[in-house]
Symmetry: C2
C-alpha cells in the first residue's frame, strides 16, 4: 500500500541544519500491522507525518496506493489524507475550546453525511474508546488519557484504509491500553493497514512486524530477508 | 512533608457535576519516593495539581511543610510552589514560541540569580536530560520525547525539595527512560521527595511506595499498615 524510497527530511533552523531523516526506505503491504520503535529524536514522528501526507520529504519518493505523492500540493495531500488515512498524533492535536464530540466529528465534515449521521458516528467512535459520557467536555476538561482516546476516536471515525498511530497508549493505564489495542486489532482484522509508533515492547508485540529507527535511519526490519 | 485529609474536587460543567476526587487521604514523609497508579480518569492528575499548589480542593485539608495551604490565595500558592516544588506536567505545558533554554530558565526568573548564572543552570539542566544540543529549538521543533525532557529539566532547575512528575516517561524509549529514572533516583538520594504518576509497572517499581487510585478514591497504599 505504501513505499518509501530514500526518504530524507532536513529541518533548517537559521544557519543550522537538522537531518531528522537521512535516507529511509521500506514498503508496507495492504493489511499489515507494523510497529515502529527507536530512541527519542530518532525520526519516528517525522516519518509518520510524511507517511500520513501531513508533511513533505526534502528528498526521496513516497508512493501511496500506487501513486507518487511526495510532489503533491498541500490541497491534493489533504484530499488523499482525509479519504484514506486516520492519524493519531503523539500530542493529540485536539481543538481547544471544542467538545470531544465535535473534535471526533471533524474528519466527517467533508463527507456527504447529514449532520445527524455525523453526530451518530462520532458518538459511536467515542463510545468505542469508553468516552460516551465525556462527549461534551472540551480538551482542558479531560484527563490526559481521555484526550489521547479522543484523538484515537477521531482517527477512526472515517473508517480509514490506513491508521497511523503515534504513541497511542503513552498516557493509558494497562487495562485501558488493552482495550485500545483490541480496537486496533479488530480494525486490522477488518482489513485496515496499521502502523504504530510505540516505546513499549508489550504494545509492539501486538504487531506482526517491527521497524527500528536510530538517528534518522532505519536500522532493523523484522520482515527483512523474508521476501 | 505533606498530608491530604478528605480531599475532594468536583468540577462543575453547566448543570453537571464531575467528582474527580471523592475524599482522598494520605501523608508523605520528607524524602519518600512514591508512585501513583490508576485507570485513566481516576483522579491522579487532579490530585497532583492540588499537591503541587496549582489548584485548590473543593473540600478537605492540605498541609504542606506543616502549613495549611488549601485556603491560600493564588499569589501565596504561587510563592510556595515556586520555592519548593518542581512539577512535570502530563502535557508538558511548554511555552510555544520560546526556546527550550528559556523554558527551562523560567522558574529561576524569581530567584536573585544574575542572567548569566540562570542561563548556566538552565543549560546544565538541559544537559542532564541529554538535550544540550537542542537548547535553541522551540517546542514545535522538538520531538515528543524531547519536549517531555525539557519539561523535566524545567522542574529540576530550581533544585526543589519536592518533585511531582505526571507520567514523565510516557513518550520516552526504554533507554532514555532509564536515564530519566536515574536522575529521579539521584534527586531522591540527595533528599528530595519524589511523587510520580505512571502507568508502567517497571517505572513504578523504582519507587519505594505505591498508591492506587480508582474513581476519585485512594483504594490501595503499599505503606498502609506499616506505621
Ligand atoms: N476541568 C475539568 N472539568 C470537568 N471535568 C474534568 C476537568 N478536569 C478533569 N476532569 C475530569 O476529572 C476526572 C479525573 O481527571 P484526571 O486528569 O485527574 O485523571 P487522571 O487519573 O490523571 O487520568 P489519566 O491517567 O487519563 O491522565 C476525569 O474523568 C476528567 O474527565
Ligand atoms: N520543526 C523542526 N525543526 C527542527 N528540528 C526538528 C523539527 N521537528 C523535529 N525536529 C528534530 O528532528 C528530530 C526527529 O524528530 P521526531 O519528532 O521525528 O523524533 P521521534 O523519533 O518521534 O522522537 P520521540 O520518540 O521523542 O517522539 C529530533 O531530533 C528533533 O529535534
Ligand atoms: Mg515522536
Ligand atoms: Mg492524568
Amino acid at each position: 500500500i505504501l513505499r518509501l524510497t530514500d526518504i530524507a527530511k532536513t529541518y533548517v533552523l537559521g544557519e543550522q541544519q537538522v537531518p531528522a531523516l537521512r535516507g529511509v526506505s521500506f514498503a508496507v503491504q495492504a493489511g499489515e500491522y507494523v510497529a515502529i520503535m527507536g530512541a527519542s529524536g530518532s525520526g519516528k514522528s517525522t516519518c509518520m507525518h510524511i507517511m500520513g501526507c501531513l508533511d513533505r520529504p526534502t528528498a526521496g519518493s513516497y508512493v501511496l496506493d500506487g501513486r507518487r505523492v511526495d510532489g503533491l500540493t498541500r490541497d491534493e495531500l489533504a484530499r488523499v489524507r482525509n479519504r484514506r488515512i486516520g492519524f493519531v498524533f503523539q500530542g493529540f492535536n485536539l481543538l481547544a475550546r471544542t467538545s470531544a464530540l465535535e473534535n471526533v466529528e471533524l474528519p466527517l465534515i467533508y463527507s456527504r453525511l447529514p449532520r445527524a449521521r455525523r453526530r451518530e458516528r462520532a458518538l459511536a467512535a467515542l463510545d468505542r474508546v469508553g468516552l460516551a459520557d465525556r462527549a461534551g467536555h472540551t480538551s482542558t476538561q479531560l484527563s490526559g488519557g481521555q484526550q489521547q482516546r479522543v484523538a484515537i476516536a477521531r482517527a477512526l471515525v472515517n473508517e480509514p484504509a490506513m491508521v497511523l498511530a503515534d504513541e497511542p497508549t503513552g498516557n493509558l493505564d494497562t487495562a485501558t491500553s488493552r482495550e485500545i489495542m483490541d480496537i486496533f486489532a479488530s480494525l486490522n482484522a477488518a482489513g485496515a493497514t496499521v502502523v504504530m509508533v510505540t516505546h513499549e515492547p508489550d504494545i509492539a508485540a501486538c504487531a506482526a512486524r517491527r521497524l527500528l529507527f536510530r538517528d534518522g535511519l532505519l536500522v532493523a526490519d523484522s520482515a527483512a530477508g523474508q521476501e
